[in-house]
Structures are given as structure tokens and as C-alpha cells.
Symmetry: C2
Subunit: 710 residues, 2 copies
């Protein structure tokens, strides 16, 4: 069974009967809390407490084991000690249970044996076509079924957010916060140790789940990064996915020798993965709520800017400042809108955006202003700010805001600032689906995330372009090097890889004799660069093995002798193939295109300008390969020094098209050849507009095994 | 009366009798609300309603005018229409009223006449030795007196935070938020239009106010930037000052022609001002509360790192991530601490920092862990995280946290996550002075601000070093140029300014003839740079007026003729003084030191590397002059490209001492000569360690008037 196959989560999401294995009469035990929670959650199906010491729990008959339960069981919740769990799952499988939630702890968190038990758990699940949540989790809550198969006190409200968390402790905090904020969930899952079901399974299930509009997650680590990105990418074409990712762990212990390797790292990979998959990365659990609630209760903003309507100048300025910092455009109101506002508002009001309805604004004045602003086609979203003043009626104003939100169909967020004086209004907004934020900055941050999601939704699905690269030629180089035990590849061999990829390289030839070198130099024209060609010497310039600006035939002969003799003397054991002669490239802007294979997410491609821009300023961007042309273009534009490519200070603009194509070709190369673990083209020279690029030097590090992709 | 004289705010902060002018019997009128608020606020002194239509208001006798009030009046609150206000203030002055709060609107916000009235208001105040708050404000509240002389509903709690706001509407929101959060204030001032008293007067008064521990402000604009910085600097040596500054307005309409001018701007100036004055800049009103409350209720952290104690792994990781991003060190617990924790906690607990007391932690377990951690001398501050789980008792745990905070005397912040399940605990924490934050990220942000404040408090007071610059020589250059109507100064004249400042310049001479040029070149050695010397040509290299690498006597003669003849042909009207001959500087790293005079804050000095680092990467830092050596050193270290000065990629380290001294000399120059409105030394070349710097080119823009400083 392939790991990519979709799992059947139906028994988990719509069980008809639930068994609680480890049910207890002792109210201090988890096995009691779970039974009580299921019963209190209004679950309409059968509930079977299971415990060898039969009897009755909370008025329900207890069964000695799962096998003795009379009817079919879709979902089993297991709270028994770790040692019993595998046997119980086996019994569940035999009984035909579709899903198990293992709350019991004592698995991988306790060491190797626990991890082994988890592997076994997964095997049992697969063998019986069962799905397992956990172990070591808080449980699962579903407001659709509905049931609360967890030991968390309290049932969340019903809503459209599906939540999963890798931290059970955080689940309880999130649940408690959601109740305080009036936020509702569709599904609520504590992932635990993810022995069987993991984040990707839920992403896939919730993508198809009609009851879920938004997916919200707390993640610490991700099992299979590529599956995750693929699933998340599909999800976010349809539904927003907001996640906190905590724990910026090191990239792993493999020593890195390339620039890209040094600059990459797990955090960069996660950043790229989230971005490319369209996941909104929340900065905190508070931010997670802020964003998810808006997605679940308001439509995405249409085209047009943000209009701010406020009864207080100060917070209006703060909203404007925040929008500017977030790169969010404020709407320029149409003349007709401003005229209508002038007619409707007192003379001292501001009819520019932010629209200031003044401190004495009544709900009616807010309503008129909001209706006029919402009707402006240049307005994509509205932010309504209210500061409680003498004449302010927060609750009535909230009604007006909610009415306009409903009727206009536009995105409306509120910022009713304060506590006691606005509480009623805030509660009313929550009931009617208008998210409220205590300060304008938080609302603006949410609008930014919504605008990004809208743009993403509107953009065509990213297409991965394929180029005519020559896989046989690449494979030949890699195989030959591997066969010779060389896992670092440079010079002529690497150049052959670039050529096979369709990345132009300056004419060059490995010349075994001085005569050959002269003939080649004459054919391409002077000056040329000459380098000693030896598989045993990688850092040639450090050992005097490189000469630039070789100017004529005599110079070529002298240089050939100098380089070969010098190398023979210094490295008597080095194999010498001769000299590499290459036409010298003049002009152009040097950039680096590199790749580091992330253990979780695979090939992570880096781009930056060469030299100090990478080494000192670390002005680089990353994307997971393969990526689309749009992403490649974005990469080139994102570096701080991008202007240097577009032509500043009298320099000509560079050939951006050729640069983007080179990035795409590298993307294809590192995607197709999994054995390439690190790679730098440094420098890639980008010539003037229309003149293309040239890969001057490339280094590759390959693994000792062929990639699976071939 | 000098504007710097300290105003007497005693009648405002401790009035014995208050008159309300414009008092009304109509509950819908502000003049009624103010009387009611004063009476309800528990003000122990006399309250005199004043209104020509005498009678009684809320049981108090009404007086026809301020003159007829029988006893002395310290504070008058004015709510009458704008046209009456000047007359009323005059009458107040005659009566001997010490302070007036003008709530009435209709002044500068309505146009020029209103502004004139405000000037008059200020004159009246000064003439009678009275202080005036407003106009166009919400009023003033004082919890010490106590009184509520505002039309805001509700009295804030008593506390140690003094708050001022330039937005009246925001005052009401802040007041409401403070009541919800249990935050107390000492003084609460709505500044209004600041006709007389402004933010600086309150900063000065609150610096001396024993009841105030923290100053909190919402500011939109600042009147006199330099007074503000001075007053804030004095304040923050003693008390934290936290402020939201909103509204990033443009620097003004004066056209700017220098690099510094282009990159500077009001936002940069505010940033530098806040930084140098030690003000914590809050990102939102929420952040303002977060930080101010902690300062008001917890001691500043001592040396040592932050220890996190948590019952949930996830939030512990989030705290660690946030600390890392904020550059805040987590404490490395001492071996003895870890041993004690191991003995006190269950085996599965983590005794590394973050200390994980596990999900089933009782209040007692928290208490033991906290006591052990707080006793570690390497711990400067504690962050206690609690996620509500089955065994969690939030209120009891809050007691334990508060006990440890009190007994240990260390900084303790809490993060009890959730709502209903932690509410009682959170309320208890608030009562006992331990600030609580809903997510770890907000607590960490606050700890960062507290650590900064502690470091600032511990640092010696910044000292402005004076250098032996030659003011007469500088003045001579500036005066001569101004007399000739030239407000842009470059080349030889600017070089004289650098020399007068003690900034080394390469040997150079203005040579009127070719013979003179040859003689000078021979004396300093070749190669030399030659430039046309003309007061009418500023951008010499653009018009072919500069030649580098002039190599011998013949070359000097040819170049002299070429430059002068070419210039005469192209600019027949240009005055030509001859050629500037300068020894050519080789090697060294080019930097820019510039200055732009901010309308609010005065000289804003910029530093960055030359060329693309400034023009493309905008990698520059700013400080207000004059600044200390420590600030100059910080400037040099803050740019992203700082490593290029310390020596990377085989380059030698540069002479940082000489660079810092050059910055300090520039700081002194632009402080002493107010007429310098813009200045760039571009490039200043920084040679290898021990070899100093050389100012190659300088441009100055001066104002048409002599500076007042001279």
C-alpha cells in the first residue's frame, strides 16, 4: 500500500458507534472523562464503555472487551496503559473498527521501544484497513457528528474551522480561547505522535470536507515534507490554511560545503514550503485565531483597496500606518462616493479614506457612511473602527456594521476598541460573523493575509515548465564520478552537466597538450582562461592552478607548461588530465544559483548576487524545486539588491529572461536527479538584455546512491 | 519667558478647588458630564459650577462667572463655545486660577483664526502664570487628587502609569481597555491641540512625580523635537517611557539634493529620537499596554537570562523561538538548579530551560520548580506558561507564581493561555501584580523591552565628547559662500571645512595656473586627480570636469588646459578659478557620512558604505546629533554590510577608531553650525587599521541665515 493512498477517515468523521476502551468509573481517570465527554457532547449513536471489570459507567453497560460489544463499532478510543495498546488495536481490527484514537502515552516519547511499538501500531492499522490517531494525544472532537472523544473539558462551538495540533496541551488552550472568543470548529484533532495518521491525511480529508472552510494547525515537525507541500497546495487552491510552525531546528548534522548549504537550513525550507503551498504562517496562536476566524466568517476581498471608516482620527492613522507597512493599498474613493459622503456626514467629517465620521457618530451615521463606501467599486474590503465616546452606541453600531457586511457581500472587519463599553457590540459582531480586533494593526494584518489568499485564488494554477535537458548526458557524468568514488564534481564534468541542462557555458575544452590548447584558443579567440584539469584538485585557484587573461599562442604554451609542471611538483600523486581552456567572459553581473537538498522538503534552490551579496549580506532567496516561472520571476525580484540587475548607476539592464530560464532549468535538474545533494553555479554571469547568461563554474555534491527519480 | 522654563503643574496635579465653566443642568451636555464626573470621582475639595444662568447643578450652587466664585480656584475646566474661551481664560487669570483644562473645540482644527486664538490662549496663560491643557481635548483625570475632569465615563483605577494622548478619542478606548485589564493610572491627560502645555511639559512633570513609575503616551506629532528628546532622555534614566507614535508624515516640502536627504525623513528621525532618548516604541495600543503594565508592576530584570517554566511543550517551544528572534538569551541553568529540579519533578519532566513541569502539574509542583529556578543566579527573569489541562488549577498556580515573584524579587511574567479555564488565575495575577499575556510571543516582546531598559539604566550616562575643531575657519567658509549667494558648497571650500573639523583630506591645492599645478603635483607625488575649480559647476564629473590618474608633469599641463578650455567652451559664463589638484588616494573602503536637518529634531546624521550600499541597498543608519562615542560605535556596527569594514574575503580590517572619530567630528560640526542644512562626505575613505580616514569629497547645503548657535 503506497503511503500516498488516501485514508478513509469516514469512521472518524461520522461514526455511528463509539467504544471507549479503558472506560473507568473513577472520575479522576481519563477513561472516565472520555466517556462523560462523549455522552455530554450529544453524540446520537451508540456508546460502549469497555473494561474487563465490567459493570456500568454513567448509566451505560460496560463490556469486557471490544470483541464482546454487540453491534458494529466505527470508532474506538483507547486510554489503557501503553503495554496493552497493540493487543487492543489488533482486537479492534478483528472487530472491524474503522478508526482508533489512542490517547494512551508511553510510546516514542519514552525511547526506542516506544517507537517500535508505534511502527507496529501502523502495521496493524494498515493490515486491518483501520486509521489510528495518536498515540499520546488529547483525543478528537467533532462538532458535526457531534462527539467529544477527548479528555478536554468543554465542547467547542460548531463552526467551519478544522483544527489540528501536534501539542495536546495547546489543544486545551486553543479550545478555551475559542470558547471565550465565540469561535467555532468543525473538526478538532490532537495529532499526538502521529504513528499512523499525520497532518497530511487530515489536510487531504479536510480538503474534501464540506463542513470545513478553513484549516488551522499547530505544527512542530512535518513527516514527509513533499507530500505535505503537495497536499497543502491542493487544499489552498480551495480553502485557506493557517498554521503556526514552531521549533526552528537545525538542518541536520550533515556537513555542508556549498554556499547554499551554509545559508539554507530547515527554517528557510519551511518558509519556502509554506509560501509555495499558500499556507498563511501565523506568528502566534493569537495570530492563528485572528486570521482563521476572518477566513471562516468573511468572504475574501475582491479587487480594490481597503476603506477605513472610523469615529476617531488616531486609530484611523494607526490603520493607515499599518496598511502602509503591510504593503496593503488603501482604496482611493471615487468622486461620487466622496460627494455622497459629504452630503451624508457633518461638515467636519473627513470624506477621504480613512473616512472619519467624527466622535459623536451615531449608529445611523455609521450605517450611511458604510453603505456609501461599500457601494464604491474601488473598495475591496472595509475596516470599521470604533472608539467608545460619549455618543457612541457600540451595539447599535455593530448591527449597522453587520447589516452592511451581509448586504454588500464585501469583506468587513471591525475594530471596536475598548472593553466594557464595547463588549455588547463585540459580542453582537461575533454572533453575526464580523470578526473584531482590539487594535487596528491586528485587523490590517488579517486583511493582508486575506488579500494574499484572494490573489492566490485568482492566479492560474502554477505550471511547471519542462525543458529539453539531456538526462542521459547528466547521468553519464554523475555515474562516472560515482563509479570513481568522487562525490564532489567540478570543472569540466560540471560544465558538461550545465551544457546538458541547456545553461550556456563559455566555449571551453579540456586540452591534453599545449598544441591542442593553442588550437582551441585560436578557434575561440583571446583572451582565454586556463585551469589545471585534475580530478584530485578542487580548489584550483588556491593552489595556483588558474590563470586569467592568457593573451596569445605563446602565452598559452607557457601557461600550459607552468600549470602542469607546478601541479606535478606540488601534488606528485595527482592525476593530471591537462588544462581546461576557456574563452574569458568579460562584463556581466555575477549571480549564484545554488541548491541544497532539505531532508524534509527536498531540493531547495537559492538565488542571489555573487560575492559579498551572498557572503556578507546574505541577500538570498529560496524556493523548493520544482517551481513555476512566476516563482522564478518572484525570486529574482525579491532580493534586496534586485535593482542591480535592472540597471542602476549607468549599468545596463540584465537579461532577466535568460536568468529566469536558468533558474527553471536548475529546478528541473535537481528535481530529476535526486542524487544531487548540493550544487552551486557560482558565478552565473548575466549579460545585458538579450545576450543571455553563462555558467562559469559549477560544483556538485552527489550522494553515493542513484536517485530514485531516475 | 524661555520656552524651556519648567511650568508649574501643581494646580493641575493637586488642586484644592475646581471650577467648571460651562457647567450645565442638561445631562446631554459636556458641561454636565464634567461636573458629574468630578463629583463622582471622589474629589475632596470644593467644586464650583459656573454658568451665567445661575441656579444649582447636581446639588451644587452655580456661580455666574469665575470672578464671583467665593474661594480660591486652582483648576478651571472650560466647556463653553470657542468664542467665549479667551475671555474666560482672561477672567481665570485675574481670579488667580493656576491651571485650566479647555475641553471646548473649534480652534486650530477649524483654520487659521482658530490657530490665532490658540496663540492668544498661550499668551494669556503665560501672562498670568497659568498652565492650560487643550483646547479640543477630552479633559484630565487624576487618581491621586483624585478627580475626573473629563467627559469620559468611568474613573480609571489608581496605579503608577501616567498616560497622555494626542487623540481624545483614543483616551476613551484606552480607559475602557484599562478597566478591562485591571490596569491603573496615576495621571491621565488628553493633550488636545497643545496650545500651551505639550508632551514635554508632562514628561518633565512626571519625571519628578513620585506617584508615577511609568510614562505611557500616544503621540501623533511632536512640537519641539529637541526639547522632547532632552526631556525624554532625562526621564528614561529614571522611569520607562513607552509610546505609540503614529502618522509617518513626509519630511516636509523642502527639496532635498543629497543622499542623506533622500534617505532621511521624518520616520527615520523619529526612530533615531526614540532610540536615543530611550523610549520604547510600541507597535500598537495593545503593545503599549503590554509593555507599560510590566514596567509598572514588575522590577527590571537583573543580569542573567530568561527562564521559561511551562506545563506544555508547544508553548515552551514558541517562547524559545520568540526569544531567539528577539535576541533575548535564555538562561543556562546551573547544574545545581537542574539537580534540584530533577529531585523535585517527575522523571519525564524537562529540567533544561524551558523547564517542562508536565501537563499534570499541580500548583505545588509549579511552586517548587519556580522557587528552584528563581534561586539560580543565572536567571534574570522568569516566564511562567500555563495551558489549562485536566489537573491544572489556574488560580492556585497563580498564587504560587505571585508568591515566588514577590519573594524572589525577580522579574516574573505569566502566560496563562485560554479564557474561561484560566480567568480566575489571570485575575489573581493581575491583583497581585504579575502581568499576564495570552501568548508567549507577547510576553517575550515585553521581556525584551525590559532587558533593554535595564541595560540602559546600568550604562553610564552618554557623554558628548568635544573635539578641537576650528569654528572660525568653518564660519569663514560658510559666511563667504553665503555672502556670494552660494548656498551649495563643494570642492575646495568644503575641503577647508573638513580640514577645520579635523577630518583628514588628501593633500590638494587650488591651482590657478598649469605651472602651479605641476609644482604641487611634484611636491605630493603622482598620480593626482584634477578637477575644474568653478563655483558655478557642482556636478563636475557629469560635465567632463574631472580626470583621475594624472601621471606626470606633461599630463598635468595637458589636463589643466583640457579642463579649463572645455569648461570655458561649454559654460561661457562660468567663473573659473583654475584646477583643483589632489593626491590620488588608493585602496581603502568608501563610506558615506551625511547629515540632513530634520525640521523637528535637528541634525540627523547618516552613515553607510558608499555606492550601491547606500543607493541600491539603502543600508544606512541614522542618529540625531550630537551623539556619544557609544552611539557612533553602534552606528558603525548596525549596518548590514558592517562585516565589510571588519575585513572579510581577504580584505584587511579598517580603521574603525578613525571612522568613529570622524562621525563624532561631523556630529559636532552639524550641532555647532545650525545653518548647515544638508551635508554629505562622499566618499570618506577608511584605510587599514591604524592608517586613518580621508575625506575625498564633501558637499554642504547651507541656509541663507546664520545659525543661532554661533
Amino acid at each position: 500500500m503506497s503511503p500516498e493512498a488516501r485514508r478513509n477517515l469516514e469512521p472518524l468523521m461520522a461514526p455511528r458507534a463509539i467504544a471507549v476502551i479503558g472506560a473507568s468509573r473513577d472520575p479522576a481517570k481519563l477513561g472516565h472523562a472520555v466517556v462523560r465527554n462523549i455522552l455530554e457532547s450529544g453524540f446520537p449513536g451508540e456508546v460502549y464503555p469497555v473494561n474487563p471489570k465490567a459493570g456500568e459507567i454513567l448509566g451505560r453497560r460496560v463490556f469486557a472487551d471490544i470483541g464482546s460489544v454487540p453491534g458494529p463499532v466505527d470508532l474506538a478510543v483507547v486510554t489503557t496503559p501503553a503495554v496493552t495498546v497493540l493487543g487492543i488495536l489488533e482486537a479492534c481490527g478483528k472487530k472491524g473498527v474503522g478508526a482508533a484514537v489512542v490517547i494512551s502515552a508511553g510510546f516514542r516519547e519514552t525511547g526506542h521501544e516506544g517507537l517500535e511499538a508505534e511502527h507496529r501500531m501502523r502495521e496493524i492499522a494498515r493490515a486491518y484497513g483501520m486509521v489510528v490517531v495518536g498515540p499520546n494525544c488529547l483525543g478528537v472532537i467533532d462538532t458535526l457528528a457531534p462527539y467529544n472523544a477527548s479528555f478536554a473539558a468543554g465542547m467547542p462551538r460548531k463552526g467551519h474551522i478544522a483544527f489540528m495540533s501536534q501539542s495536546g496541551a495547546l489543544c486545551t488552550a486553543v479550545l478555551d480561547m475559542s470558547l471565550g472568543r465565540g469561535v467555532g470548529f468543525s473538526r478538532f484533532v490532537s495529532l499526538g505522535n502521529k504513528a499512523d495518521l499525520d497532518e497530511v491525511d487530515f489536510i487531504e480529508a479536510w480538503a474534501r470536507d464540506g463542513a470545513t472552510r478553513v484549516v488551522m494547525a499547530y505544527l512542530e515537525g512535518i513527516g514527509d515534507g513533499r507530500r505535505f507541500v503537495e497536499a497543502a497546495r491542493r487544499l489552498t487552491r480551495e480553502k485557506p490554511f493557517v498554521a503556526v510552525k514552531s521549533g526552528t531546528t537545525a538542518a541536520g548534522s550533515r556537513a555542508v560545503s556549498s554556499h547554499t548549504g551554509t545559508l539554507a537550513g530547515s527554517e528557510r525550507a519551511y518558509e519556502a514550503a509554506f509560501r509555495q503551498a499558500g499556507i498563511v504562517r501565523a506568528a502566534s496562536v493569537e495570530d492563528l485565531f485572528d486570521v482563521a476566524v476572518a477566513f471562516s466568517r468573511q468572504p475574501l476581498p475582491g479587487t480594490g483597496g481597503v476603506a477605513v471608516v472610523t469615529n476617531a482620527g488616531g486609530p484611523g492613522i494607526m490603520a493607515t500606518d499599518a496598511a502602509e507597512r503591510a504593503g496593503l493599498a488603501l482604496a482611493a474613493l471615487a468622486p461620487a462616493t466622496m460627494e455622497a459622503l459629504s452630503a451624508a456626514l457633518p461638515p467636519a467629517a473627513s470624506v477621504l479614506n480613512p473616512v472619519d465620521v467624527l466622535g459623536d457618530a451615531t449608529a445611523e451615521r455609521y450605517r450611511r457612511a458604510l453603505e456609501i463606501v461599500a457601494a464604491d467599486p474601488g473598495v475591496g474590503a472595509l475596516l470599521v473602527i470604533l472608539s467608545p465616546q460619549v455618543m457612541t452606541r457600540a451595539a447599535e453600531t455593530a448591527e449597522a456594521v453587520a447589516d452592511v457586511a451581509e448586504r454588500s457581500g464585501k469583506t468587513v472587519l471591525a475594530c471596536f476598541m475598548g472593553e466594557a463599553h464595547v463588549r455588547e457590540g463585540v459580542e453582537l459582531l461575533a454572533r453575526r460573523g464580523v470578526p473584531n480586533y482590539p487594535v487596528p494593526e491586528r485587523a490590517v494584518r488579517v486583511l493582508r493575509a486575506m488579500a494574499d489568499q484572494a490573489r492566490r485564488r485568482a492566479a492560474p494554477e502554477p505550471r511547471i515548465q519542462r525543458f529539453d535537458i539531456d538526462p542521459a548526458a547528466v547521468a553519464a557524468v554523475l555515474d562516472r564520478a560515482r563509479a570513481a568514488g568522487r562525490l564532489e564534481i567540478g570543472e569540466a564534468e560540471a560544465r558538461a552537466v550545465m551544457e546538458a541542462c541547456g545553461i550556456p557555458v563559455p566555449p571551453s575544452r579540456l586540452c591534453a597538450t599545449a598544441d591542442e590548447a593553442v588550437a582551441f584558443a585560436e578557434s575561440v579567440g583571446y583572451p582565454v582562461v586556463m585551469k589545471i584539469a585534475s580530478p584530485d584538485i578542487l580548489h584550483k585557484s588556491d593552489v595556483g592552478g588558474v590563470r586569467l587573461g592568457v593573451a596569445d599562442a605563446g602565452d598559452v604554451r607557457d601557461t600550459f607548461d607552468l600549470l602542469t609542471l607546478r601541479t606535478m611538483r606540488r601534488f606528485p600523486r595527482a592525476e593530471i588530465w591537462g588544462c581546461l581552456v576557456q574563452k574569458e567572459v568579460r562584463g556581466g553581473r555575477e549571480v549564484i544559483v545554488g541548491m541544497n537538498r532539505d531532508p524534509q522538503f527536498g531540493p531547495l534552490v537559492m538565488f542571489g548576487l555573487g560575492g559579498i551579496y551572498v557572503e556578507v549580506l546574505r541577500d538570498v532567496v529560496f524556493r523548493l524545486a520544482p517551481f513555476s516561472r512566476e516563482e522564478a520571476e518572484a525570486m529574482v525580484g525579491e532580493i534586496r539588491s534586485a535593482a542591480l540587475l535592472h540597471g542602476v548607476r549607468g549599468e545596463p539592464p540584465r537579461d532577466m529572461g535568460a536568468l529566469v530560464e536558468a533558474l527553471l532549468r536548475v529546478s528541473q535538474l535537481v528535481t530529476d536527479f535526486e542524487e544531487i545533494v548540493e550544487m552551486d553555479i557560482n558565478p552565473l554571469v548575466v549579460f545585458e538584455e538579450g545576450r543571455g547568461v553563462a555558467g562559469i563554474d559549477m560544483r556538485l555534491v552527489i550522494s553515493g546512491e542513484k536517485g530514485r527519480n531516475r
